[in-house]
Symmetry: C2
Subunit: 398 residues, 2 copies
């Protein structure tokens, strides 16, 4: 009889996993996975990059690299982060195996069992899983259309002050809610944090994916706003600006924190793939490739979001509401309190459409009258059909 650790016993499993496996059937119109569209990956650029590498560069790509990251990529990434207004020169920076590892590393170096992490509600399932795996307690404050509700957050911060280690936020095209924080909300948040004893983890994988140039000003990271009332750690990823299959992200933050993350990473996977780091570095250095690619995916995702919003407007019953994203991958749908998203899922999957149930994103794992639709991975022409199937499934329970 194997006796698992308390951490393993605390990991949530089964139900979400089972539903995700159902949704992975290619015959299903799936709005489940938070994935970029395969058809949008810049394959020509990849071929150019591979073709341009020397034998020596390919040999380096096959070798171990430093735990903090491939040095040339660290440099090119710093240039990119500076262009987003982020402080870089007095900070530590570590390349991670996806932004998921950035969240996990910070958890590893900050959290003892029983420590509190404060999140948005709803929040990113991968982050919740990481915090729970370190036996943290999760407390949360709700979101409205302008970001986390400050008065509610204040209550949570005051109530658990001595035990809070991390405040985890995803202010830009939030996963799963799809909202973006207003400038005013961000300022109020900075004011609220003054004098607190915690670390802010800002997760920012989607900020390049704004639909309208006029909304770009909203995508400025908290860490780029010029004041850090508490230590700010900024996690980002190549997943949405190049491809998740590279498994490359980063964590930017105070040097003492990143130094500890380096030690943790040594024992976690020693280094991220040098192979994909060499490719990502070349990509960042090819003038115009990243801006051109981003321009093309912004347009494509904006069209998909538009198609989904139109379909929701056309097909959803009256008492159902949803968010109207200005970028990113997601729309968050709220049904009347009494309707259970798992039942709706089970109905919708019969007609071959799928989404992720709301309880996956609830820090408590229970609230389930909502669900997440990802419009990013579904061909524009199938979106209306999938939404209609889901709307009809909801109607069965009204």
């Amino acid at each position: 009889m194997v006796q698992f650790s308390q951490s393993a016993q605390a990991m949530r499993s089964s139900e979400i996993r089972r539903l995700m496996q159902l949704a992975a059937d290619p015959s299903i119109i799936s709005f489940a996975g938070g994935m970029p569209a395969n058809s949008l990956f810049p394959i020509e650029t990849l071929d150019e990059i591979w073709g341009g590498l020397s034998r020596e560069e390919k040999q380096v790509a096959m070798q171990y690299g430093p735990t903090t990251g491939f040095p040339a990529l660290i440099d090119s990434l710093k240039t990119y982060l500076r262009s987003k207004g982020l402080p870089v020169d007095d900070q530590g920076l570590i390349i991670t195996t996806g932004a998921q590892q950035a969240i996990n590393l910070l958890s590893k170096v900050m959290l003892d069992p029983g420590d509190v992490v404060v999140t948005e509600n709803p929040s990113f399932i991968g982050a919740l899983a990481a915090f729970l795996s370190y036996l943290a307690r999760i407390e949360s404050a709700p979101l409205d259309n302008d970001g986390i509700v400050i008065s509610q957050l204040e209550k949570v911060l005051d109530a658990h002050a001595s035990k809070i280690k991390i405040l985890y936020l995803n202010p830009c095209f939030q996963n799963p809610a799809g909202i973006i924080y207003s400038v005013e909300r961000k300022k109020a948040l900075l004011d609220l944090l003054a004098g607190r004893n915690l670390c802010l983890l800002e997760d920012d994988p989607y900020s390049e994916l704004y639909f309208n140039e006029t909304d770009r000003r909203l995508t400025v990271p908290l860490k780029a706003m010029g004041k850090e009332p508490v230590p700010f750690c900024y996690a980002g990823s190549f997943a949405k600006i190049f491809g998740p299959g590279l498994r490359l992200g980063w964590l930017l933050g105070p040097k003492d924190i990143i130094d500890k993350c380096e030690l943790a990473k040594q024992s976690m996977d020693a280094c991220s793939s040098t192979f994909t780091q060499v490719i990502a570095n070349d990509y960042l250095r090819r003038k115009g490739k990243l801006p051109g690619y981003l321009q093309s995916v912004r347009t494509a995702y904006a069209r998909r979001a538009g198609a989904m919003l139109d379909a929701l407007e056309t097909h959803m019953p009256d008492k159902v509401t949803w968010t109207r994203p200005k970028g990113g991958f997601y729309i968050w749908v709220t049904m009347p309190e009494a309707i259970d998203a798992t039942k709706v899922f089970n109905e919708a999957i019969k007609k071959r459409a799928a989404f992720v149930i709301g309880s996956a994103f609830d820090p408590g794992g229970t609230k389930n009258n909502c669900f997440r639709l990802a419009f990013s991975h579904t061909a524009e022409g199938s979106i209306a059909e999938g939404v209609k199937i889901i709307a009809d499934a909801i109607s069965c329970f009204l």
Copy 2:
């Protein structure tokens, strides 16, 4: 003031890291890093693989994949593992971000603070770091030329029986000692484990790298010996059969354990690089590529080992002893008790040669009259010169 977790406080740092950074200077003849030789990576094969992938396969390579691994790679890896005599069909198998992550995942799902892990002494630094990061206590038994000393291991297993969760062994071309377990020692070990309550973690990155075909029979994994008196988990890696830069390894073991590892991995990095998994899968499926490559590297590493053994014979002072590897990357050198490897390192580095000091591999972090030489990464022509520098440095302290 950031307050780090107990785990972060337990992570060892500084001294080894500083020495490794010194050893990374390319003007130094370094026997420090346990790395394959850059010149031996199969770059032509890589180019063929990339050139043979369809646009759709490249798109898949850029996307997220299942947490357990890219399905086609799981299949081709199973074929490979079966060819090594390993039980596969009734087992769980998960692709990991290097074998380091396999060790870390098992630690995460098995270890609570204060639990005991039993290791060889000396043992692999990356494994020790993983166990310590979960606040485990490490107990160890010494090695001789035929493997772990059974009588000593028995004492340790008996003394800590109720607290032991993992027995971690690296029976084949052990890192750092370079020895291989005899068949008799492996049988005695299986007998000793009967009726114990622990999990065996067999770490096997080097078994393909035997120098003589006649020694192949020694490389049979414990997990392939047909009896598992306790649950056996088998960690392996593409690092030494293809390239570490891919960051791909695996863990093969009982299904309930691998299921828990999958949950842990979801929150650790979600999945390993699909990009490099697509490439590794293609590599395994190209008939003859892997066997041909292994044949060529076996010859190359055997020559390097021979050059190093010759140089040791020629240059080392009388009271110094060393192991005679039948494969792998390493030779373990033992000096008289009174000599401190760090002092020898500091002397040798002045003349531009380097190695890893013994205390890095001591579970207690102290014993330091030994050091590890890796012959794998150094051009054959430089090996004698480097060994002479180190021998001269030792002579300063005799």
